[in-house]
């Protein structure tokens, strides 16, 4: 018996040794720690969270291995592991283990760097391509047009990650087509004439448009800058709701311009503005949910020519009484109503900046030196780096061959320019040099990195000049460049694009809310939601506000539509404005924005687990483990059963231990926002379809993984905001992902920590963090 026991112990010992064989090169203490606290759940049999430590390699030069060990350090440090109900290591043991693993990770850093390619290519996203050709040649190229570029693949919301943007032959085809179009649109032969198109509804007529309806007012054949003038009346509904006017791109199915307007039918207003236009048809639209029948054939909301002399109040019933009501029984417009008289468009208009960009692009004469000079000048700007004569030679040869084949010089020259726009140096950001293992980007690469980070486009002449002088990498130069760039209107591109990608706002409206459940939802509300979040971020950036206000504040950015959605009073001029929130609003901070609250919904109901996963991934930069396959969905409440909240259903759903451990970390982050429905409206009870009895009250209380309890969204946000260092680290990680166009690795951790530390004195202010990143070593690191 004794012998058997000894044998058994020996077998167990061997098995345990085997189980940590992968960690064989770890120190004895580390092996012991893992054996005592980790392997029980993270072995081949249990694989808690689909994470195994029994066979995890100790080769820290492997980036993936290092990343996994880094995860172990995080879990131990944050006291998430071992779980509460398991024997706990001492603080000293934890410290020793974390320090040991961090050291090993750091040791492997140099080897991991060395494994990276000598030359990295980061293809431009289509948004960046459009900005680049505009800043290069003043050309508006419609990257979203049918047959242009596909939507870029995203990684956790980011659409500029190099690893995701592979270049396929189909891309090259499209780049060829785009390049020809861009050069053609650059009108190198001379500026196109500007002309005025005017479309009037008709003598004695006006065009009536109810919400969602509009009037095809003009077509733009040559994209560019245009001036638009229009005369119209805009009547609020009997409730006071004002119409939102929008100029709608018919092919893209989205608005390109908009504003609120109130103008009596007897006093129409003339509006004028200038902006860039893509090619296509445009409708002047009463911007709201369209009432078009799903089959596209029947429109119920009114859009028709009416007699201008007939007062609107008299339009009741009669012919077309099967269409929607124009005025109520008292003669007041039932809905916000537009009455359009005429629209005029003038252009394309030329600006001095565009003229300057095109100057010297076309040789005055067919002379070799001049051709070389022109091509080189263009290539250096297009490829964003110094270009040698040897690199230009093939293009000169090409021109000669084209001419020999019978092409005219201008045509051959333009083809050469097109060729430069399909060179990989144009549509990629190139970092590194063949034959040289550089750890840092050079000044030209830095200039591009900076300009694509803040402007989503190529560097301007000043940045090129700083790079040419070899000064840009100097901190003072970078600081100067940063200040100048954030003062430039092009910073709007960052203020629009970064929050969109970081917060995964592309998911807003991805699953359109069911119109039967949420009839008030429409495109203008959806756009207003996005505007709130992006302008909130822009406001934080411009005012350099502490990052904690991203999650908890007493203000937001509202327009009339969103104010109505939140049950708050509208800003005076109805347009987007910063407003102070009353405490009882239950809002404040991005987490209570309707955009964020709705992007995780499925169109019919809110999804607390998805909300939690989003918050973990986006705000805390901790991507939860994906759910196992074939998880049974929640069943609707049976008609003979009492109504139950989603939360109650979830609690009975996650009964498996393997599921429960993950959900314990994710769910509280989402359940804290139970007071908000699928489109972000405040609620006290949850509407449950089916079932018996009254709608149940919501419960937004919970406990964070580290044990702190909260009773609702307000307390939860406070808890989150208290740990602003954690927020800052997560934010900088997301910012670096966007700026460096790659996933942040364990090797970037130290750089991120430094950036965060440097902005601590001001309370982790937003602009300080962005500046900190730009001026950091991490930003210059390849």
């Amino acid at each position: 018996m004794m012998l058997t026991r000894m044998l058994l112990s020996l077998v167990v010992f061997i098995v345990v040794l085997q189980s940590v064989k992968a960690a064989g090169s770890l120190g004895i203490d580390a092996q012991q720690f893992i054996k005592s606290h980790c392997v029980k759940c993270h072995d081949a049999k249990t694989q808690e969270g689909k994470f195994r430590l029994d066979n995890l390699s100790a080769d820290f030069t492997d980036p993936q291995v290092a990343e996994k060990w880094n995860e172990v350090v995080f879990r131990i440090n944050s006291a998430e592991m071992p779980p509460e109900d398991e024997p706990q290591p001492s603080a000293e043991e934890i410290g020793r283990m974390a320090e040991y693993l961090t050291g090993k990770i750091r040791e492997g850093a140099a080897s991991r760097m060395a494994r990276r390619g000598l030359l990295e290519h980061y293809r431009l996203s289509r948004e960046e391509y459009a900005h680049t050709v505009f800043d290069l040649l003043g050309v508006v190229y419609d990257v979203e047009a049918p047959g242009a570029f596909n939507e870029d693949p995203r990684w956790h919301g980011f659409d500029r990650i190099g690893a995701m943007l592979a270049t396929a032959p189909s891309h090259i085809d499209r780049y060829f087509k785009a390049a020809d179009t861009v050069i053609e649109l650059a009108s190198l032969g001379g500026e196109p004439p500007s002309r005025v198109q005017r479309k009037a509804v008709g003598e004695g007529k006006r065009y009536l448009a109810q919400p969602g309806e509009g009037w095809h007012c003009f077509d733009v054949r040559k994209p560019g800058r245009y001036r638009v003038r229009m005369r119209l009346s805009s009547l609020p509904a009997f409730t006071g709701r004002a119409p939102r006017l929008a100029l709608w791109h018919i092919e893209h199915k989205k608005p390109v311009w908009g504003r609120y307007l109130v103008a009596d039918e007897s006093k129409p207003e003339t509006i004028e503005f200038e902006m860039l236009f893509n090619q296509g048809g445009y409708r002047l639209l009463n911007y709201a949910r369209t009432q078009k029948h799903p089959n596209g054939g029947i429109q119920r909301f009114r859009h028709e020519e009416i007699d201008a002399s007939r007062p609107l109040a008299s339009m009741r019933g009669g012919f077309k009484s099967n269409k929607t009501k124009i005025v109520d029984e008292l003669g007041r417009p039932v809905m916000p109503t537009l009455l359009i008289d005429w629209v005029e468009i003038e252009g394309p208009l030329m600006t001095e900046t565009v003229r300057a960009n095109r100057k010297g692009l076309m040789p005055e004469k067919d002379a070799p030196e001049e051709i070389l000079a022109c091509l080189k000048r263009f290539a250096q700007r297009a490829w964003r780096r110094p270009v040698s004569d040897a690199e230009i030679d093939p293009y000169i040869q090409f021109i000669a061959e084209e001419k020999k084949a019978g092409e005219s010089f201008p045509s051959a020259y333009k083809s050469a320019l097109s060729g430069m726009l399909v060179a990989r140096s144009f549509f990629n950001l190139e970092e590194g040099s063949p034959g040289e293992n550089r750890q840092e980007v050079n000044d030209f690469e830095l200039a591009s990195r900076l300009s694509y980070f803040l402007w989503s486009s190529m560097p301007d002449e000043e940045l090129f000049a700083a790079a040419r002088n070899g000064e840009l990498h100097e901190p003072e130069q970078m600081a100067k460049a940063f200040d100048r760039m954030i003062a430039d209107p092009k910073i709007e591109r960052f203020l629009n694009s970064f929050p969109h990608q970081w917060l995964q706002l592309h998911r807003v409206g991805m699953f359109q809310p069911d119109p039967n459940l949420y009839p008030e939802y429409g495109p203008w509300l959806e756009e207003s939601m996005l505007l709130e979040t992006k302008s909130y971020f822009a406001e934080m950036f411009r005012e350099n506000l502490p990052l904690r206000e991203a999650v908890d504040s007493n203000w937001t950015m509202l327009n009339a539509r969103l104010a109505a959605h939140y049950g708050l009073s509208a800003p005076q001029d109805l347009e987007l404005a910063r407003v102070t929130l009353p405490p009882e609003s239950g809002r404040g901070g991005i987490l209570t924005h309707a955009s964020v609250l709705s992007l995780t919904s499925d169109g019919t109901r809110h999804r607390p687990v998805h909300r939690g996963a989003w918050l973990s991934e986006v705000i805390l930069a901790r991507t939860p483990t994906p759910p196992p396959p074939n998880v049974e969905p929640l069943e609707p409440v049976a008609s003979d059963q009492p109504k139950r909240t989603i939360r109650a259903q979830l609690e009975s759903h996650a009964t498996q231990a393997a599921c429960a451990s993950c959900h314990a970390r994710i769910d509280p982050l989402g359940l804290a926002f139970e007071n908000f429905d699928a489109i972000g409206q405040w609620r006290e009870t949850e509407r449950v379809e089916g079932g018996t009895g009254a709608n149940p009250p919501v419960d937004a209380s919970g406990k964070l993984p580290e044990g702190k309890a909260f009773s609702g969204p307000a307390e939860f946000k406070k808890l989150l905001a208290e740990d602003d260092e954690r927020l800052a680290k997560a934010f900088v990680e997301q910012l670096a992902t966007y700026a460096l166009r790659r996933l942040v690795t364990v090797d970037d951790r130290e750089g991120i920590d430094k950036i965060v530390s440097s902005s601590m004195p001001g309370g982790y202010r937003l602009q300080d963090l962005v500046r900190g990143l730009v001026l950091s070593d991490l930003f210059r690191k390849r």
């Binding site: 109810q210 919400p211 509904a237 009997f238 409730t239 709701r241 709201a288 949910r289 009432q291 029948h293 054939g297 029947i298 119920r300 909301f301 009741r316 019933g317 009669g318 012919f319 077309k320 009484s321 099967n322 269409k323 929607t324 009501k325 124009i326 109520d328 029984e329 039932v334 809905m335 916000p336 119109p515 039967n516 009839p519 008030e520 429409g522």
Partner: protein, 491 residues
């Protein structure tokens, strides 16, 4: 035409202040008839007067009164007469049985009917005729008082089923009585709810007519000349139309067969001699009568067609009638037993169900609450006179569709597509609803507030019924069709 025989016309339709002269004429005519063919029949009537009141003929139930006793026995006209027009008291005008009240010799003096028809056509088409404003009728959204209007009967000679209009010919020499159905106007045929389209041309109908509803004053054009003929032409909007079998049987009335009689004269016809069994009915034939019968008459027994020789003396029968030569009444159908009538009734009921389920249940809007995003709430009261099964379909539903309709009950193109989805917020049952109302009221949440959703306007509501597409010419699909639908146009 009236000039040929004014006395005949006035017997039934002359206003009451002219009744003295008329009564004299009637007395003279009756005296002649009593001596002749009617005397034996009248004697029989007297003999059977105390026996029974429609023993084996079921009094069919109106939805609002399932017990069977007639819930809507037509009463004296209580509608206020138009200012300046003669006072009417229709109940005092004796029912004019052409057989009983006219002699064959008088009838033969009448001219052919063609010129009358020409005049009637002119009535509608000629724009030069001075317009008559015919106002003072029921208001939109309010059902008329009980007993309002006048009772008129005649053969249905013009029928516009799409617009629910038509004309009754009271006598062969009189101008037609053109009419439109009120939106809540009901039609009964074979004892079941029906539509104008279910009525065969020529069928003899009993109608209750009101002045035009507010806004419908010019739907049926009137002229001074026509009104001179009779003020009753003002009453040209029907709230109720019934064929004879519906009219009599639902009031507990049947006919006892007295036998066959061979008529004489220039057009000798076989006649079915009958006497009424059951209560006296206002506006009905309350004395023994002779109805033409021949091989075109459908005789029903045991749910089958049988020869007329199956009609035996002493039988209780129900009949439907049509015009017969010289303004006699001829039988189209004779039912010898209840089961046969029940079979016909069920066929008509099913036809009615199919009709309403494809065209939707009509009603009108009592109240509206607009919202500023295009939807809102509407409260609808359904019109009466439909089969109870249809109301039950609505009662059991949560989701409906609602489209607007004109007073003709015509909906607009693709009524299904242009209908707004609606959910029921509240259902109410109104006790003892007025004639025209079902008593069922619903408050609906709609996603599309259509222009026609206004208090007092007509709507049609789709219950849980199959998708259908109506023929193009049945719904209103253009401005031209809309304009055309507003006035009576002869085919």
């Amino acid at each position: 035409m009236n000039g040929h025989n004014p006395a005949h016309h006035n017997q039934s339709l002359k206003p009451v202040n002219e009744q003295t002269d008329m009564k004299q004429a009637i007395s003279q005519t009756l005296a002649a008839m009593v001596v002749g063919i009617m005397l034996p029949a009248m004697c029989q009537t007297a003999a059977h007067a105390d026996e029974k009141t429609g023993a084996h003929w079921a009094v069919f139930a109106h939805p609002s009164n399932p017990g069977g006793a007639s819930p809507w026995v037509v009463k004296v006209a209580s509608f206020k007469p138009v200012e300046g027009s003669a006072k009417l008291d229709v109940a005092k005008v004796p029912y004019s049985n052409p057989v009983m009240n006219r002699s064959e010799s008088q009838a033969t003096k009448d001219k052919p009917t063609a010129p009358v028809q020409a005049k009637a056509n002119k009535l509608v088409a000629a724009p030069t005729q001075p317009k008559v404003i015919n106002s003072g009728g029921p208001k939109r959204g309010i059902f008329p008082e009980e007993g309002a209007g006048v009772q008129i009967h005649g053969d249905l000679v013009i029928s516009d089923p799409v617009n629910r209009r038509g004309a009754l010919r009271e006598k062969r020499h009189l101008p037609r009585h053109y009419f439109a159905m009120l939106p809540y106007g009901m039609v009964w045929y074979h004892g079941a709810p029906a539509d104008i389209r279910d009525l065969p041309p020529g069928i003899h109908m009993h109608g209750r007519f009101l002045l035009p509803m507010e806004g419908e004053e010019e739907t049926i054009p009137l002229t001074e000349k026509l009104l001179k003929n009779h003020e009753n032409h003002r009453y040209n909007h029907a709230i109720l139309l019934e064929d004879d079998v519906s009219f009599y049987s639902r009031r507990g009335r049947s006919w006892k067969v007295l036998g066959f009689e061979q008529g004489g004269g220039p057009a000798p016809r076989l006649k079915l001699s009958v006497e009424p069994v059951g209560p006296e009915i206002e506006g009905g034939i309350n004395k023994a009568a002779l109805f033409d019968i021949d091989n075109s008459t459908r005789v029903w027994r045991d749910r089958q067609l049988v020869n007329k020789d199956q009609i035996k003396e002493g039988m209780d029968v129900q009949v439907n009638l049509t015009w017969g030569p010289f303004d006699s009444l001829a039988t189209t159908d004779v039912w010898l037993d209840e089961s046969s009538l029940q079979a016909n009734r069920e066929i008509q009921r099913q036809r009615h169900l199919r009709m309403i389920r494809s065209r939707f249940l009509p009603g009108w809007i009592d109240a509206v609450k607009n919202n500023d995003s295009g939807g809102g709430e509407v409260t609808v009261t359904f019109f009466g006179g439909m089969d109870e099964e249809l109301y039950d379909d609505i009662r059991k539903s949560q989701s409906l569709k609602i489209c607007n309709a004109e007073n003709t009950l015509r909906s607009w193109n693709y009524h299904q597509e242009y209908a707004s989805p609606a959910t029921i917020l509240e259902k109410r049952e109104i006790k003892d609803p007025p004639l025209g109302s079902s008593g069922l009221q619903v408050r609906l949440k709609v996603t599309q507030m259509l222009d026609g959703f206004r208090p007092g306007w007509v709507v049609r509501v789709k219950g849980p019924w199959a998708y259908v597409l109506l023929p193009w010419d049945e719904h209103i699909n253009s401005a031209e069709a809309y304009e055309k639908s507003k006035k009576l146009i002869l085919p």
